[in-house]
């Protein structure tokens, strides 16, 4: 707890304690009275006897600031307690009961927010009399709507959680639920806001005092001291600076304490805490020859340095891809498929990522490119389509703007030309009435239409390679086939290569020429599609194939799953990463990692106990099926 609050929190808390102690013990401190004139020479600067100097009447400024803290902190704490006492019950009732009570209370706070609070406070204090009690009452009451809203929000979020719903369903008494379940959960946000509220109240009291509408002279208040001090600003700036700085530090401390308390419960913010930059050595690539092909990936590695260790998301992947071919990458979620694409394209989050290996595009080493050079390649030569078309398009930009943009940036087209080209592109991906489409926004389109748009955008600059990361997973089954057919047709028309990531083996079987099977960031099997799917050698591939439900299965047939859990990438088992889940694993599998070896001419696998003939696969399936 202490460590997470941070040193700033404790400094702020110490300052508040100090000011509070000084205010409470003011009468016991060896200070001149706050209203004792000529305690020192008038308008004298800070000295040993008068640490904050003296004002125009020779009064000790330090003493006046200390006594002023009584009013400021008194009003701050008092107003918060008052607001809490009224606002918290209202907020809990509104958040817990909902319906009529909620509607009424929220309508009232809506109106209260439209009410000019400071003006109201001014009027009340001016007409009813400027006394500590009136200031406190007004500021306390004015804080009620904010408290009600806050407590209502906190209650609402708790009241819907399982443990409260469960308690309600079990017939627990309402009062018991409120005290046992809701109140404790509302405490932290309330404590946090209490400090923010004190900051607000202290500033509000200061504002009133500055206008002469708080506790009247001779009692000093911070706002009043600042107002007085500015008349002698020319000759004695310390008179205005001393209360200003003390007030600033106090308000700042209240805000810091409130903010750190809020951060305790806020998980979102912690992701942005500065991460320690790890300077890991770049991973060297294995020796290899640069081939003449379109895309060549050699020994690609992408490692994330996290608290628990190194996550090897992509670990030594090599592949080649030619024009007019489709290469499928398959594997479970978390096997490194998507990260492989991002790694090839260099689209990795900054900071704690280490990339190694080489990527060649027609013999050019992309890993040696500068970001500027890389931007010339991304779009015109390498294009990308993501899984979820719902999140792939910018929600606030029109389709026309989005499709035309790469054309303007990469091909130097004017907006008019680019829009005309965009119409052609949209038509080519089978979008009806493309002119009208230009003016529409993503939310007006169906998922299938959006995915066609993202494909049109990807193809706009005539890329050599299309990376499609599960392009149909988020779509209806009927649309899936249309989209894949479209990708296949465009591949032929444009003489592109396609790298298709999928976990759907029926998709792979239909559209891919070659398959790579990934497990825990590594290639475990690779070969022509038909060969790999029909004669899987690696037990993991076999398991993937068996996990596909078949139409010929009986209606209540148990769905075959791969036993065990996907591996923890930060703590991989030794030897073959699949061995803990593998039914054929032997002693060697746990010790020594199998290399990727060629079974037949172009069918490679990494396994010590490869599956041989089809017969054994079926046999294995039956054993597992029972």
């Amino acid at each position: 707890m202490r460590r997470r609050l941070g040193p700033v929190f404790w400094i702020a808390a110490a300052w508040i304690t100090l000011v509070l102690a000084a205010a409470v013990l003011a009468d016991l401190l060896p200070l001149p009275r706050f209203d004792e004139t000529l305690a020192g020479p008038p308008q004298a600067g800070p000295s040993g006897a008068h640490p904050f100097g003296t004002d125009g009447l020779g009064r000790d400024v330090f003493s006046r600031v200390v006594y002023g803290a009584r009013v400021s902190l008194g009003v701050g704490i008092g107003a918060v307690l008052l607001g809490l006492l009224i606002g918290a019950p209202l907020g809990i009732v509104a958040g817990y009961r909902r319906r009529a009570a909620d509607a009424l209370i929220m309508a009232v706070t809506d109106i209260a927010l439209a009410f000019p609070a400071l003006v109201f406070a001014l009027a009340v204090v001016a007409f009813a009399g400027a006394s500590l009690r009136n200031v406190l009452l007004v500021l306390g009451v004015l804080g009620v709507p904010a408290w009600t809203r806050l407590i209502r929000g906190a209650t609402l979020s708790v009241a819907q959680r399982e443990f409260v719903l469960a308690a309600r369903a079990l017939g627990a008494r309402e009062r018991r639920i409120l005290w046992r379940e809701i109140v404790p959960n509302v405490t932290v946000p309330a404590a946090s806001y209490a400090f923010i509220g004190m900051a607000i109240a202290v500033v509000a009291e200061g504002s009133l005092a500055f206008l002469g509408l708080s506790v009247q002279a001779p009692t000093p208040t911070w706002g009043g001291l600042i107002n007085e001090g500015r008349t002698v600003m020319d000759n004695a700036p310390h008179v205005v600076l001393a209360p200003s700085i003390v007030m600033f530090l106090t308000v700042l401390s209240f805000n810091v304490v409130g903010d750190r308390l809020r951060a305790l419960t806020d998980v979102r913010e912690s992701g942005l805490e500065p991460v320690r930059q790890v300077t890991a050595a770049p991973l060297p690539a294995a020796t290899h020859a640069i081939k003449a092909g379109l895309l060549q990936v050699e020994d690609l590695r992408t490692h994330f340095v996290v608290g628990r260790g190194t996550v090897k998301a992509v670990d030594g992947v090599s592949l080649t891809l030619e024009r007019g071919r489709t290469l499928a990458v398959v594997g479970e979620s978390g096997s490194g498929k998507s990260m492989l694409i991002r790694s090839i394209l260099g689209l990795l989050p900054g900071g704690d990522v280490v990339r190694g290996g080489k990527v060649y595009l027609e013999g050019e080493d992309l890993t040696a490119f500068t970001p500027e050079q890389m931007r010339q390649v991304l779009g015109p030569r390498l294009a990308t389509v993501f899984q979820d078309p719902m999140t792939a398009l910018n929600p606030v930009r029109s389709i026309g703007t989005q499709v035309a943009e790469p054309l303007q940036v990469h091909r130097g087209m004017s907006r008019r030309q680019a829009l005309a080209e965009a119409v052609r592109l949209l038509a080519s991906v089978g979008i009806p009435d493309p002119e009208r489409m230009l003016r529409r926004y993503p939310h007006q389109l169906s998922g299938g239409m959006r995915q066609r748009v993202t494909i049109a955008m990807a193809l706009s600059c005539g890329p050599d390679v299309l990376f499609a990361d599960e392009p149909t997973t988020a779509l209806d089954v009927t649309i899936q086939d249309q989209v894949l057919r479209l990708v296949h047709r465009l591949r032929g028309e444009r003489d592109m290569a396609v790298l298709l990531v999928s976990h759907d083996l029926s998709v792979v079987a239909e559209w891919a020429d070659e398959v790579i099977v990934m497990y825990a960031g590594k290639v475990v099997e690779r070969g022509p599609t038909a060969e790999v799917l029909e004669r899987a050698r690696m037990p993991y591939t076999e398991a993937l194939l068996q996990a596909v439900p078949k139409l010929t299965d009986p209606a209540h047939h148990r769905l075959r799953v791969i036993t065990g859990r996907p591996p923890d990438l930060a703590a991989l088992p030794g030897g073959c990463a699949f061995h803990p889940r593998c039914p054929y694993a032997g002693d060697r599998c746990a010790v020594e990692e199998p290399p990727l070896v060629a079974g037949s001419a172009d069918h490679l696998y990494a396994c010590w106990h490869p599956r041989g003939a089809e017969a054994t696969i079926i046999e294995g399936a039956e054993t597992r099926g029972r």
Partner: protein
């Protein structure tokens, strides 16, 4: 939808005017004392009350006042004997100019600062900017104003500490007189806006469509300003709206500190002189302003985010 909002707007205004009328009338203090002085006889007071309509029941007085209000008649001040509407019309441009310049200062700085901080989230620049905006947020407006006066008006003598030159008299002097108050007012907003924008931008930059924009070879600058900024601006627009509305009443301190003849100063003066009708009129003006600005904000939402247009 629009009709629904207009009805809601009318209800809020009705309640606010009623509450403010009743509350101000329930507060201790007698306008006749202010007008006739403490030594006036009870008959003279009674006669004056009758003259001013103060002998009528509260509800009837409210109804009559509200009726006049709808025709643009805010009543005539008991104290200055001037129509309240005229007084407000004279003061309003000063306050509006102050607000507009303050918002321009705040937004003009907050957007680049928020973008810079989000782009380097967690790094040194971001931490410095976050700390500075936190400090600004904790500085009461009168403390900041006093400090700025001390530096720019007293020590360096660059700008006037107080006073106001209307725009119609001299544009240059008008700008020098609005600059310091507007910066004072804008600094607090700057901190709020920059923090909001930073948080929302960081969230937006994690979106798929931003990664895909990178995959299309677009420059970081283009992605930040053309792709990420607008989807991240909703909270900012809300805050600007709320502030513009709330600040119409919040310029009281600034106008007092810098001696500006705006609505805020008018409110303080009329509160001190128990000028009920002027206070009432100002409260109505502020509430209407707040409600209308929020109404306008909803329209701006639609411009910022097309998904809202459908609703």
């Amino acid at each position: 939808m629009i009709l629904h909002r207009l009805v809601r707007l009318a209800v809020v205004l009705l309640v606010v005017t009623f509450l403010s009328y009743v509350l101000l009338n329930l507060l201790p203090g007698d306008p006749t004392t202010q007008i006739l002085g403490l030594s006036a006889t009870e008959e003279a007071r009674a006669q004056l009350r009758q003259e001013l309509g103060l002998d009528q029941p509260l509800l009837i007085r409210y109804a009559a006042w509200l009726g006049d209000l709808l025709t643009g008649d805010f009543g005539t001040s008991y104290i200055t004997r001037l129509p309240v509407a005229e007084e407000l019309a004279e003061r309003l441009p000063v306050t509006l100019e102050l607000l507009v310049v303050a918002q321009a200062v705040a937004l003009g700085l907050a957007i680049p600062v928020g973008v810079a901080a989000a782009r380097r989230a967690g790094r040194a620049l971001d931490q410095v900017l976050t700390a500075v905006s936190f400090a600004l947020l904790s500085t009461p407006v009168f403390v900041l104003g006093v400090l700025l006066i001390l530096v720019f008006a007293v020590t360096w003598r660059l700008l006037p500490a107080t006073g106001w030159t209307p725009l119609s008299v001299d544009v240059g002097w008008n700008l020098t007189s609005v600059l310091l108050p507007a910066v004072t007012l804008g600094c607090g907003q700057l901190a709020v806006y920059a923090r909001l924008l930073r948080t929302d931008l960081i969230a937006t930059l994690q979106e798929d469509y931003i990664t895909l924009a990178r995959a299309r070879g677009l420059s970081p600058r283009r992605i930040l300003w053309r792709h990420a900024l607008r989807p991240s601006a909703i909270s900012l627009v809300t805050a600007v709206g709320l502030n513009l509305g709330a600040l119409i009443g919040g310029t009281v301190i600034i106008e007092t500190l810098f001696g500006l003849p705006g609505v805020g100063r008018l409110i303080v003066d009329s509160i001190f002189s128990r000028d009920y009708l002027t206070v009432q009129g100002s409260v109505v003006l502020i509430s209407v302003g707040y409600v209308l600005v929020n109404f306008a904000v909803d329209l701006v939402y639609a411009a910022v985010d097309p998904r809202i247009r459908r609703a």
